[in-house]
């Protein structure tokens, strides 16, 4: 550690920022030393993303000052911040979906002369950047054609510049699995050794302890404290974040459910689609939670989407509640009691301009049809219930969803699925970006629903989540379902073994 370098790389002093109805940051100080990894923690909506947006020129502060190596900074655009060596990966993947990977990686970076671009150099630069992350993809394809995780990696690759002085990572690992996370951490360690200051925001406490030197915690827009990672215990950290102990909830998290398996409610036989997913069999039973595990790009998202009808299957049969489904579609599925949380909340999950309330009632309303509108009072009651149950941080239910913090947006996606009172729930990366406290509560909530007879399918890249929440785990590899494990077999080693493919086939 390089903590004795005298001048801080960045000093933020007395930062305040208000949004209509919310004081997002209230007099927050943050100091970044060269060569340190500084973890920034806090509940959903605590103000982490807002703070780093101010640091990186994406948002303006109401008051306070920022010093870069002792010199006051005043910039209005992210371009200026980039020129000063502040590189950022924002929480919502910020890339241009329709542009190729190459273009995304080299946008506003110098390749060529006199404003002209040398595409040959650009491609070299792009390959070089991806190589550092061990990502091997076709760089001429549009970024939008890749999964969220790959996009996340591309965004990270983009931020890795040679002249970076400060690297800001806002929940970079939210949709990565262990392997990618490890590759990222190798790079971070390398950067650290070159004296670069890194800000790292995450909700995974293990990762905090693995990589960071110092920790700052925000709560409700206030800085609760800053300290060395090695001096703060896990429990202290959690109580700093959520203002109370979590022991009790964590205990539920760990406990295995003992729900009795009910009738099969969804049966897929030989279901599949060419070039997308090999035919698979899968049965979901009432009261049972099934986990879906696999590596990046193994087809978890496709499997859930096929079950939901968002991708049409071209082989096999699907039956829901005993009735066989011919042409499935999201509408049909919703009407037959299936709810689905997509993985990409920005593109597929939310209607950003509509309010929290409207987003929450949408599926339920779609199920009832356009004529029987959910009365306004019921809408409000439902929204309030969901806001409370999922601890969505918002001044009121009429705030446009797009203005919520990332984790809170994710909760709204979940809330919508739950509000439609499904009998089958399909979740794709349901807790992406959700804080520890809420995470545990959500798992508990879903567990309760299971006990009441809900059939659940959870696709997740977080093994712990899968292990904690599922009664049965289906494992995917290379767009093929390769097996299921049940009961006591569900443990890290077994799953990793299957995913990796060295289980003796």
């Amino acid at each position: 550690m390089n903590m004795n370098a005298s001048t801080p790389r960045v000093e933020m002093r007395g930062i305040c920022k208000a949004f209509p109805g919310v004081l997002a940051l209230d007099n927050v100080n943050l100091t970044l030393m060269p060569g340190e990894v500084h973890a920034l923690l806090g509940e959903n909506g605590a103000g982490k993303s807002t703070l780093i947006k101010i640091l990186t020129g994406a948002s303006t502060k109401d008051s306070g000052e920022i010093l870069l190596e002792g010199k006051p900074l005043s910039f209005q655009t992210t371009g200026e911040a980039q020129a000063l060596g502040i590189s950022t990966v924002y929480q919502e993947v910020n890339l241009i979906p329709a542009m190729s990977v190459t273009k995304n990686l080299t946008l506003e970076k110098t390749v060529g002369r006199f404003g002209m671009i040398s595409w040959r150099k650009a491609r070299e630069m792009a390959r070089e950047k991806l190589r550092r992350l061990k990502l091997d993809i076709d760089i001429e394809q549009a970024v939008g054609s890749y999964s969220v995780a790959v996009q996340q990696l591309v965004a990270i690759a983009r931020a890795l510049d040679d002249d970076t002085r400060v690297l800001v990572l806002d929940e970079p690992t939210a949709s990565l699995d262990a392997q990618e996370t490890a590759a990222l951490f190798d790079i971070i360690r390398d950067l650290k050794s070159r004296g670069i200051a890194v800000v790292f925001i995450t909700h995974f406490l293990d990762q905090v302890y693995e990589i960071s030197d110092r920790i700052s915690v925000l709560r409700n827009g206030n800085l609760v404290g800053t300290g060395l990672a090695k001096d703060i215990t896990r429990n202290e950290l959690i109580s700093m974040m959520i203002g109370r102990e979590l022991g009790e909830v964590e205990a539920t998290f760990a406990a295995k459910s003992n729900a009795t398996k009910g009738e099969p409610v969804l049966v897929a036989e030989g279901l599949g689609r060419k070039r997308t997913l090999k035919p698979f069999n899968l049965t979901l039973r009432a009261g049972e939670a099934v986990g879906l595990s696999g590596l990046l790009g193994s087809g978890r998202t496709e499997l859930t989407k096929i079950l939901f009808g968002a991708i049409r299957h071209d082989s096999g049969t699907l039956s829901v509640g005993g009735k066989s489904v011919g042409r499935s579609s999201p509408r049909y599925s919703i009407n037959s009691g299936i709810a689905f949380c997509p993985e990409d909340r920005k593109a597929e999950g939310l209607v950003g301009e509509l309010s929290i309330r409207e987003n929450i009632v949408m599926s339920m309303q779609a199920k009832r049809g356009w004529l029987s509108r959910v009365p306004r009072r019921d809408q409000e009651r439902l929204a309030e219930e969901m806001i409370k149950a999922l601890a969505i941080a918002t001044p009121n239910a009429d705030k446009p969803v797009g203005q919520l913090s990332g984790g809170n947006q994710q909760k709204v996606v979940l809330a919508r699925a739950l509000a439609s009172q499904p009998s089958i729930l399909l979740l794709d990366e349901p807790t992406r970006g959700i804080d520890v406290g809420a995470h545990a509560e959500i798992i508990t909530l879903i567990r309760e629903l299971c006990q009441k007879g809900l059939a659940l399918l959870v696709a997740s890249s977080e093994l712990d989540e899968i292990i904690a929440s599922s009664d049965r785990v289906a494992v995917l590899r290379d767009r093929e379902k390769i097996g299921e494990i049940e009961g006591a077999d569900i443990n890290r080693e077994k799953i990793i073994q299957m995913i990796a493919g060295d289980d003796g086939h």
């Binding site: 208000a18 209509p20 109805g21 919310v22 004081l23 209230d26 509940e43 909506g45 948002s59 303006t60 209005q76 655009t77 409700n220 827009g221 959520i242 939901f308 968002a310 999201p330 509408r331 599925s333 919703i334 009407n335 689905f340 997509p342 593109a347 597929e348 999950g349 939310l350 209607v351 950003g352 301009e353 509509l354 409207e358 009632v361 949408m362 599926s363 309303q365 779609a366 199920k367 009832r368 049809g369 356009w370 004529l371 029987s372 509108r373 959910v374 806001i387 409370k388 601890a391 941080a393 001044p395 919508r416 439609s420 406290g437 809420a438 509560e441």
Partner: protein, 344 residues
């Protein structure tokens, strides 16, 4: 774990300033006040031929067809679409009225036929946009370029030399009055109320806004985006046909080539002055009507100003820019001497 955060006070004045309605209304007021200076008896309202008569009534009266079209446009724009063919729809509806009156059908049936024609235009546009997935501007351009031709063709069915007609029923709807009040204003209000009920008392409005905001997400939430878009174009076609009935009966003649020329621009302008975004996702019915009133007030003031007609467009442009600048936060900040902050 509900956050107790310091809520920033919203004073009454701040809320008023923040409200969308204030700026277009202010613009309308300014235009009307200026009119008072141009023409001293501008605000006079008398009773002539058994109905209210005066410039203010005229603005309402003339704005009605534009406002009706603009309401339909607002619905389509809400789905992130646009309908350039409203003028053509009006032309077709008008031509059908003149044709069937010449053929001697019952006038009530003719009214239904004209509205049916509007629905048919909407179905066609909806089919192109929602069915074939063609970009709205191009999809509706097809009917825009050919619709007036269809109107002319219909005129040719009965010779095409004298497409004028008389119809007590239709003229009653357009230029008649019920107790002092022009019927078309009542018709306009009825349409407004009906549309408001359909959008806000059923879930249609929510679905349209959801589809306009994020079609992929609303599909996954179970909304049938295609049908919603389809319905939006049908509503727009139907409302355009309503305006077509009023406009055609107004002049007692079918003039497909020039009836309601550029009405699509005025309708879009009304939606935007009313705070609607062409990026879709929101429908403001009341504000759209105010937008239409602003445009008509402007047109009327130009007409009574006595300036030569070559100034019309320049004045219109300057006032439109003025109204829009008024709505812009950054410009207001400039003028209230606060350093303008860049957009967030």
């Amino acid at each position: 774990m509900v956050t107790e955060r310091k809520n920033i006070d919203e004073t009454w004045l701040n809320r008023l300033k923040g409200s969308r309605a204030i700026w277009p209304l202010l613009a309308l007021a300014v235009i009307l006040i200026v009119d008072g200076f141009i023409s001293p008896n501008f605000y006079d309202i008398r009773i002539v031929e058994g109905r209210l008569f005066g410039n203010l009534i005229d603005i309402l009266y003339r704005a009605t067809p534009t406002a009706i079209v603009a309401l339909g446009m607002a619905v389509v724009i809400g789905t992130k679409g646009i309908d350039l063919s409203v003028g053509s729809t009006i032309a077709i509806a008008g031509a059908i009225i003149a044709w069937r009156i010449h053929a001697g059908d019952s006038h009530f049936a003719i009214l239904l036929m004209a509205l049916g024609a509007g629905i048919a235009c909407g179905v066609w546009n909806g089919f192109l946009v929602a069915g074939l997935g063609i970009q709205p501007i191009i999809a509706t351009l097809i009917l825009m370029v050919s619709g007036r031709g269809i109107g002319m063709l219909i005129n040719l069915f009965y010779g095409g030399t004298d497409p004028s007609f008389e119809s007590a029923l239709l003229q009653g709807l357009s230029t008649g009055h019920i107790w002092l009040i022009p019927t078309r204003i009542i018709v306009g209000l009825a349409i407004f109320a009906a549309l408001w009920l359909v959008l806000r008392k059923t879930a249609l409005g929510l679905f349209i806004e959801a589809v306009g905001g994020n079609a992929a997400a609303s599909s996954l939430a179970g909304v049938n985006a295609r049908i919603i878009i389809f319905v939006a174009y049908i509503v727009c076609g139907l409302l355009a046909a309503c305006a077509g009935v009023i406009l055609t009966a107004d002049t007692h003649t079918s003039d497909p080539v020039s009836v309601a020329l550029y009405i699509e621009l005025d309708a879009i302008l009304a939606v935007v002055i009313g705070g609607g975004s062409l990026a879709g996702g929101r429908i403001y019915l009341g504000m759209t009507v105010i937008g239409a009133l602003v445009i008509q007030a402007l047109t009327t003031s130009i007409l009574i100003s006595g300036l030569p007609p070559e100034y019309n467009l320049i004045i219109k442009a300057l006032v439109v820019v003025f109204v829009l600048l008024l709505q812009s936060k950054n410009v207001r900040a400039l003028f209230s001497k606060k350093a303008a902050r860049p957009s967030p």
